[in-house]
Symmetry: C2
Subunit: 136 residues, 2 copies
């Protein structure tokens, strides 16, 4: 799979913001994650568009939570940075028209994958950023 680790990284960033409780720059955040500030800013851009963080530009700018850690779920973060990602994707090889299985199997499977992803997301929804923060 190696899917991407964007979600995990986003949770890391959000937890740092919650834990520190103050405005942080992408530079400082990049140190705790051990990556490049641009990577952080890109993720935070998506989190900002989802209304989870606030970005302030210019001197003495930086990022801060837009809402309380108690009100932000892991699902909120997941949706913000992984919105158009299927947990388990369908294969996209072209159909073999003559074969009923080839034509119909994706549709049949999709129903069940969607249901499974729903329960996965429902589980993420139960966990709040504050729960993660608490264990730091």
């Amino acid at each position: 799979m190696t899917s991407s680790s964007r979600f995990s990284m986003a949770v890391h960033i959000m937890t740092a913001l919650a834990f520190m409780g103050e405005k942080m720059t992408s530079e400082v955040l990049s140190n705790t994650v051990n990556t490049n500030p641009v990577v952080i800013r890109r993720l935070l851009g998506e989190l900002a568009r989802a209304g989870l963080v606030r970005a302030e530009r210019g001197k003495s700018g930086g990022f801060s939570l837009a809402r309380s850690a108690k009100s932000i779920s892991l699902l909120d973060i997941f949706r913000a940075v992984m919105s158009d990602t299927e947990l388990v994707p369908l294969h996209e090889n072209p159909e073999y028209r003559k074969c009923a299985v080839s034509c119909k199997v994706r549709g049949a499977l999709c129903v069940h994958l969607d249901r499974a992803q729903n329960v996965y997301e429902r589980e993420l929804k139960k966990v709040m950023l504050a729960d993660i923060e608490k264990t730091m």
Copy 2:
């Protein structure tokens, strides 16, 4: 994420075997999936090691289900071809020792990701290959 589409492809193959109900060669299977026979054989190798299919070599060889479609769940197939794959992986950037969040956030997150993956897999376990086959 783009994880791989190995699972979806494996379900496609297994459904074809169930639906046709007879021995099939990797050549024939590769046509219904629209890919290369070697790709099929590699997947079937993992499915065979998991005890889900039987492989016969030599002339008039081919693949067939090792168990009834009613007894094979999507989880069996998932485990066979995605065993060491996290649905959502943790980021692996090195820790920043001075920072508690950097050191602990993965552990805290991991607990919840594992639980979510468990409910995902439990959902896959409810669906049998025979259920998929029926809708063809």
